[in-house]
């Protein structure tokens, strides 16, 4: 399942049969496009009532402004029923999400495929030992379901 084909769309979660929005994390090279993507993401999070999957797969690494934006995303949905899930896309991103403690605030998965395949199992497996299986999620307390 290619995440690129699903970006910005509303799809159904295979595990729970619920609806979720997939939003790409800003990755444009030009600052104008990047700003537009950033606004799109924040606006979508502001109004969304369904779970939101923020996909970082196109980002090889994260900069200061990216960390700020991720925290802003979490702040936007805090206190609401809207749930945010992050798709890290790489182990490097996963490390940064753990270091910043973002992964303790929202579930993190390695790929879109994992989110829709077996989110609960992946989360449990990851909680045991991340070094044994790098395909799991880094957050076990909150199992995402749409």
């Amino acid at each position: 399942m290619k995440s690129a084909s699903m970006k910005g769309s509303i799809i159904r979660n295979g595990a729970t049969n619920g609806a979720a929005s997939i939003l790409p994390f800003p990755s444009a090279s030009s600052s104008g496009s990047c700003r537009a993507q950033r606004n799109d993401l924040l606006n979508a999070l502001r109004v969304s009532e369904s779970p939101v999957i923020v996909d970082l797969s196109d980002r090889r690494t994260l900069r200061v402004e990216d960390i700020d934006l991720l925290l802003e995303c979490l702040a936007l949905v805090a206190g609401r029923d809207t749930q945010v899930v992050f798709v890290a896309g790489s182990n490097t991103n996963r490390v940064l999400l753990e270091v910043t403690r973002i992964s303790s605030l929202a579930p993190v998965f390695n790929s879109m495929k994992e989110v829709f395949a077996h989110p609960q199992r992946a989360a449990e497996r990851d909680a045991e030992d991340p070094s044994k299986d790098h395909q799991g999620a880094s957050q076990s307390q909150t199992v995402w379901s749409a």
Binding site: R60, T61, L62, R63, V64, D66, I67, S90, N91, T92, R94, V95, L96, E98, V99, T100, R101, S104, D129, P130, S131, H134
Partner: protein, 338 residues
Amino acid sequence: MELGAFVMVPGGDDFTGLREAQPHGLAAFENPRALYSSRMPILGNDVLQSWMERVRKLGVQSLWLASGAGVEAATSALAHFARQGIKRLLVIELKSYAEMDLADLLRFHCERRNPVTEAHDARGQLGVRLLDRPSVRATGEEHDSSCPPTESVRSPYQFSGYAKRILSAGERQELVGDGLTGACAMRPLGTQIREQVWVGEGVKVATSARVIGPTYIGSHTIVRAGATIGPFASVERDCVVDCGTTVERSTVLPDTYLAPGLLIRNGLVDGGHLEHLGWRAVADLEQAGLGGRIPRRASRRESFSSDTTDACSQGDNAFAWNLGSSSAAAQPWLEVQL
């Protein structure tokens, strides 16, 4: 001369080249690799010092040091040894910490009468070998490589004592844990302030910070309010751990700054880079605004530019040998009196 000793210090230069080749930073790398040199302290200790002490116990008066590239320096040094007419040469590649009795290795080598004896443990070569004169001469004259001649003439010396590869972040962290718990001979360089907690001189720990043993905090490191260090943590000298950051089952190498509120778990941080042992990935903390390298203090800079041929110094000064200096370029190895 009966026995000569030669220590090769790998690493360092490779990382510089890698950095230049990666304009977008190392974070793009998923491959774990050593971001640090074998000269980086472990619980405040210099592994080179421990090897030098073992060599000194053999009665050797001086040893030769070479860094980085290795082959050219090693070949040159070996040729030098051959010309001096030494009988045997002990070659140590500084990639492991091993509590090895070199006298026993020497005895084994002499008894077997093999031209080359290579020390192994259960995981393979430890980077310690003894060469007899013909092997030294052959290696030096042929300008072959830093490695001794063919595999066929090597005799393995099986070492069953304590050994860890210090260029592997995982084994390095195991060594830290073993040093903190007394499972190996290496002890943290500092004062034990309570059970399984050691600190170096000039350490500042905020009253609201938590230090959970077993833990080591190196000299002149600052731990700010609300931070948590440990268990099984080693924060080496001249670091700053900012407010609320947790360092757990990890090593923070010298001159590293960690921003507030971070969670460093199962990792090795060297300046702006974090190698995560679980995810086997290297993250660029500096680019993410989460950490970085602290400029060295003036006094340390001076010590780094000091005369590299000085006799073996103790403590932090042990890190003063700049093996990659311009003088080393003219002569790719240097002699150190033991």
